[in-house]
Amino acid sequence: MTVSDVLFLAICLITLVAAWRVVVSAKVMHAALWLGLTFFGVAAVFLMLSADFVAAAQVLVYVGAITVLLIFGIMLSEGTEGTPRGSERSSLGRKVAPVGAAAGFAALMVYLYHQAGLRQPPPAEVATDTPRAIGTLLFSDFVIPFEVASLVLLVGMVGAIVLAMREEG
């Protein structure tokens, strides 16, 4: 184990704890802040996998935009949260089924990954000029998906404005 391996495992641990706090923390606003830490942790994982451009985009888009958007949503819908009711949720199936689905999925995937025997360390040589490589890919091989993605963003923006607009005479 090298120093960077220990660092990587520490980042993984922090990210998983933060993600768990998103699910279990009592206040929605705290969950949003833990979600920001989760996004930062994932960005650090990207950085350790030498995907520096994607790590920067992750911080800008997820931490900068999506977390702030969610916090706005929480503040605009405050007071409508409602009290969590225990009675209808307390049946055994509704408690066991989500745990079984999530834990079963994670355990199955970890088991399959270990069975697959992907044991080799990462290759030493790696693309260092990732923004140039990604840009070249986006404008050569992936130019049609790139244009479609811009259309999706435009439609999403217009749709969000139309949906959130107050309808008044």
Binding site: D5, F8, L9, L16, A19, V22, V23, V28, L35, F39, V42, V45, L49, S50, F53, V54, A57, V61, I66, L69, L70, G73, I74, L76, S77, T80, E81, G82, P84, R85, E88, R89, P98, A101, A102, A103, F105, A106, M109, V110, Y113, H114, P122, P123, E125, V126, A127, A133, I134, L137, L138, F142, P145, V152, G156, G159, A160, L163, A164, R166
Partner: protein, 103 residues
């Protein structure tokens, strides 16, 4: 870094499991949206990891992550707009009480 690919993939599977558990159990619609974001991030980790370990000189996986981020941003914007509209009209964002179409 000398860790084999299995460790990165296992981390991503655990992150996805946490997000899946939250999306299935929580009642607040905004928190379900957060858990969906966690699941999308776990998928992105997988894409980056395969790109790093299997084709390090041709980062097509990283280009694909950019697309996933684009779709995620559009999804959050539209999802939050829908949730805010429901909060205004029905005065709740508890998904258990959004049962107008439920038989």
């Amino acid at each position: 870094m000398q860790l084999p690919l299995t460790y990165v993939l296992s981390f991503s599977a655990l992150l996805f499991g946490i997000g899946l558990y939250g999306a299935l159990t929580l009642q607040n619609a905004i928190r379900i949206l957060m858990c969906i974001e966690i699941m999308l991030n776990a998928v992105n980790v997988n894409l980056i990891a395969f790109s790093r370990y299997l084709s390090p000189l041709q980062p097509a996986g990283q280009a694909f992550v950019i697309f996933v981020m684009t779709v995620a941003a559009a999804e959050v914007a539209v999802g939050l707009a829908i949730i805010l509209m429901i909060a205004r009209r029905r005065d709740t964002i508890d998904i258990d009480r959004m049962n107008l179409l439920k038989w």
